[in-house]
Assembly symmetry: C2
Homo-oligomer: 325 residues x 2
Amino acid sequence: MIRIGIVGYGNLGKGVELAISQNEDMKLVAVFSRRELGAGTLKSPDTKLLHISKAPEMQNEIDVMILCGGSATDLPEQGPMFARLFNTVDSFDTHAKIPAFYEAMDEAAKAGNNVAIISAGWDPGLFSMNRVLADAVLPKGNGYTFWGKGVSQGHSDAIRRVKGVKYGVQYTVPKEEALQKVRSGENPRLSTRQMHLRDCYVVAEDGADKRAIEEEIRNMPNYFADYDTKVTFISEDEFFKNHTAMPHGGFVMRSGITADNSNHIVEFSLKLDSNPMFTASVLVAFARAAYKLSREGHKGAKTVLDIPLAYLSPKTPEQLRKEFI
Amino acid sequence: MIRIGIVGYGNLGKGVELAISQNEDMKLVAVFSRRELGAGTLKSPDTKLLHISKAPEMQNEIDVMILCGGSATDLPEQGPMFARLFNTVDSFDTHAKIPAFYEAMDEAAKAGNNVAIISAGWDPGLFSMNRVLADAVLPKGNGYTFWGKGVSQGHSDAIRRVKGVKYGVQYTVPKEEALQKVRSGENPRLSTRQMHLRDCYVVAEDGADKRAIEEEIRNMPNYFADYDTKVTFISEDEFFKNHTAMPHGGFVMRSGITADNSNHIVEFSLKLDSNPMFTASVLVAFARAAYKLSREGHKGAKTVLDIPLAYLSPKTPEQLRKEFI
């Protein structure tokens, strides 16, 4: 049994707790949180609920710690701290800061003789794997990543900061026309505006100026100004009925030309009813890989590109060769 | 420069020759064939064209030998012979015999201190990788593989053996309705007949009984009897104009349910204008991996599940972390 710990008990941490229940080779030993969480919070009575400061005392009880904090402030601080003490897995997703985060985690993990798998969600994560695979197989070509349809937390937060907005959610929607252009093999150049639509659902405060809200959203730099943005005002009832789920997904495509001038399209896509639950499931599979790598004596930071796929599976190499290849 | 050799100069071997020209870190040193091929057969004047019996003399000139023979008789014999002498990559695709082929290649490669990457095409190959990845991330769910639209050599050969058939080609076509059922998350049970249509184009000999040909094809056991089979008679002109290309592709899908009852769909698909050119491109990327693994001291047989994705790429780990993750 692989003994797992979770750091952080938000949507993602709760998702990891549930995901572990689907994997028979794993056991959730403890959940660590900064908050004081009451007894009965966890699904399993066998799992300890501990303050994050107690983690160092659990070094001999936990094989892999799954870090479920946020990428903005939690992981840059907690990541290296935990990588000194435990094998870790995280879904650090600030793309521009991944090289620096890798270096910090590599140093900490090596110091502690641990393995730290970073950025192991779906983007970064499964999407990164498919970008590299398709690029290696089709060196002459163009790669495309489309996101959605799904909720963007950053854009939803931006909407909620607009004066007069009570609730709001933003769906990133890939444009079907752009997807079809890529699939046709015409290797299009696509602008930001051509790839994604930003679809916003807003509950306005009583008496708020809806026209002003819509204008402010549409013209918000970085977030909306470069996109086709649709704003729909809805009632509070409708918001809570239809817009509190966290679906997401997307498409990684590569259109390549081999030296005989043949065209080839490689496409990977996800359609996820719950973004945090799926990300949690990816983290758990990579926790298995961290455990195996550590048992083999590996040390330091690893990305999803450094790990053979067989390490993600609970099945034996023989079984995989027989049933999956 | 990675120095490559090719064994076998049919469609696949020719494809590998072309694919190497798209990869700047590789050089094609020699092509080995059982046939006597004339001067000027190869694209590059710097590449040697040698009889297969000369291969042992080239051990110090070649880093990786790409085996392009057929799976039925060539690879079971040539594979272990070459794995004793060289690092090898092949696209052995008789699914049921992969475990035995792995064992034979493992023994030979270990005896020769070489790496032998087996079954590195697209199915087996990229499809196998995606089956394992999706199964590891979504342990509760169902996996589906659809092939096509594309030419099946085995089924085309079967058509051509029917009395009165001059030329024939069979396209395997995935049924759109079945694809949509999987994508909807309803986890359907699909029969052979529900998943694929067999679409045949036949040129009859002059005076042949077309009705008899159609009946014989439709009722052929194993090949056609369990499928919806469509037979269209065409002229010889049309055959050579529209039906000599070798497109293929397919879909690997997994529909899974996480412990909160959310549904998730993972889909990987290929749309290939030329099956042999794409397979050749996959072989070349895995030849790079064989080279890197061998330089690190690895030995024995490996499958596509045993190889980190970064090994397929000519880019540095730093570049991959910065640009692709």
